[in-house]
Symmetry: C2
Subunit: 303 residues, 2 copies
């Protein structure tokens, strides 16, 4: 399944140096999922040719403005475009109050259903389970209630042990049934058990978005072994005091977490506006975790 991530914004707190606040689009097959929605996200979608009608689920990590101020504008624009398909929003419950107040004040009635799923402070939960994808949320350590999101591909097809299948003289046309878990019965009535000729499905790919957070080893088991980990690096290492105080992370902290969790790739973002140059972020992380990339606006990363 095509599984990728496109960055629409990588700056923290406010737009600066041509960088926009947090917003990411996860592509899975033919579906798009929006993660956070800072001011200007709808403009970024136009700029980077994101097909916004393919988005049915929006995940908001927390209610600091740089992660959601663009949402009301996007919802409004969907309405003006005549959207009718339901839109699911996963966020802290206060968001529903804020959006409803803004809609009521404008006497706006959206032409599509808005379906809220509240994220309960401190609680892990499965938010979405589809045939091939599961999305769950997990709490992070931030100044206000904040969540990361884990996108995990579900693989159902078992892996065929083709040599064994031949030994048991199973005809090739039946292989796809074997991958689905079926046993095989020979004409003489003897049964070949599925587990004799297949392996368990390989684990699906996964993407963990860790939102805003202080360095928090409780995240390690949550993101363990994932294919791509997005971890914030608001600050370079020399600002570690400021990072802790403001409930953010540094480069070395993100890289350490990636290393301890054994992820395959680390993507870093949410850069403080005090930094115009981003290259030092990558360099510092790579000292500990070589497979580090900068989350760059308009860039798509395969998961």
């Amino acid at each position: 399944m095509h599984f990728a991530l496109t960055i629409l914004g990588n700056n923290s707190a406010l737009p600066a140096h041509g960088r926009m606040p947090t917003a990411q689009v996860v592509t899975f097959g033919d579906q798009l999922f929006l993660v956070d929605c800072g001011e200007g996200t709808q403009m970024q979608m136009s700029r980077y040719k994101i097909r916004r009608s393919k988005i049915h689920h929006i995940f908001i990590s927390h209610l600091h403005g740089d992660h959601y101020f663009g949402l009301i504008g996007l919802l409004n624009s969907y309405g003006l475009a005549g959207r009718q398909q339901p839109l699911h929003i996963y966020a802290s419950p206060e968001l529903e109050t804020i959006l409803q107040l803004q809609l009521d004040t404008a006497a706006t009635q959206l032409p599509y259903p808005l379906i809220f799923t509240p994220l309960i402070p401190g609680q892990t939960a499965v938010l979405l389970k589809e045939a091939h994808l599961e999305v769950s949320c997990f709490p992070t350590d931030h100044r206000i209630s904040c969540f990361g999101f884990l996108f995990r591909e579900i693989r159902k097809k078992r892996k065929l042990d083709i040599e064994k299948a031949r030994q048991y003289e199973i005809p090739a046309y039946y292989y796809s049934r074997l991958q689905e878990g079926a046993d095989y019965q020979h004409k003489n009535g003897s049964i070949v058990k599925n587990e004799w000729v297949t392996f368990a499905p390989p684990p699906g790919h996964s993407y963990a978005f860790c939102a805003d957070t202080r360095y928090d080893e409780k995240l390690i088991p949550v993101v363990k072994g994932c294919d791509m980990l997005y971890h914030e690096t608001t600050y370079l290492q020399e600002q570690s005091g400021e990072a802790a105080q403001r409930f953010h992370s540094t480069t070395l902290q993100a890289a350490t977490l990636a290393q301890k969790a054994g992820v395959k790739k680390l993507l870093i973002g949410h850069f403080s506006s005090r930094y115009e140059e981003l290259e030092p972020f990558r360099e510092e992380c790579r000292q500990i975790f070589p497979h580090t990339e900068l989350a760059l606006e308009g860039t798509t990363y395969l998961i």
Copy 2:
């Protein structure tokens, strides 16, 4: 006094065709005033080098999102930049509730005072009176409570009738006192009345922003004779039915109002996203009112 208008956004409803929602900056002397603040206004300020620290007063015409969704982000950014000077906001009273809810939810305490002046539905009011400038609001005819704003330069210096001043043998050093309204006393005790040697001050320049509105002849006495009138033209004339239904105006309506009010110049904006080309707007208006200009983003118009 330097008196000018810079357009930051000229589109209606949502960003489209590279056009942004409504926001304008009025420059008067050394001060800047923000009129409306659609999503992305703070980015537009950076783009067009608007010195945002010079803004102390923000006027919001009404609470449709394309006129205020960028405000909370701007307020936040002021806070992050350490602003301490008070900021005055003139808007429908619900805006205070919306902003306060967003600030509270984020546990954000702005480091500067935010001072709200509510605009009472249907009421005209003087909002601001300074030595050389008066700003007032007036209701327009829109789907929800909506206001235009009139910026009027106050000229206090009387105009000197230099010939008369010479006839009365008033020494030149005293001319500036005459302009301030003083009488002159000769050494022999005889008095020259101020009104014998001066004329009343000429009227100051004025700018009328008519926000979103249907064609409304009640606006004529309000904007009469102003130097620049901004009037919305959401639609070309052929969409006059839609304009009326949606409480907006067409080109010919804006031009007719400009003509009947005898303004010096008409600036048009708030273009519907259905139009990619703007030139037809200007052409239609000029059939009735030749001194019509398009409100173009990043462009400054002298008042």
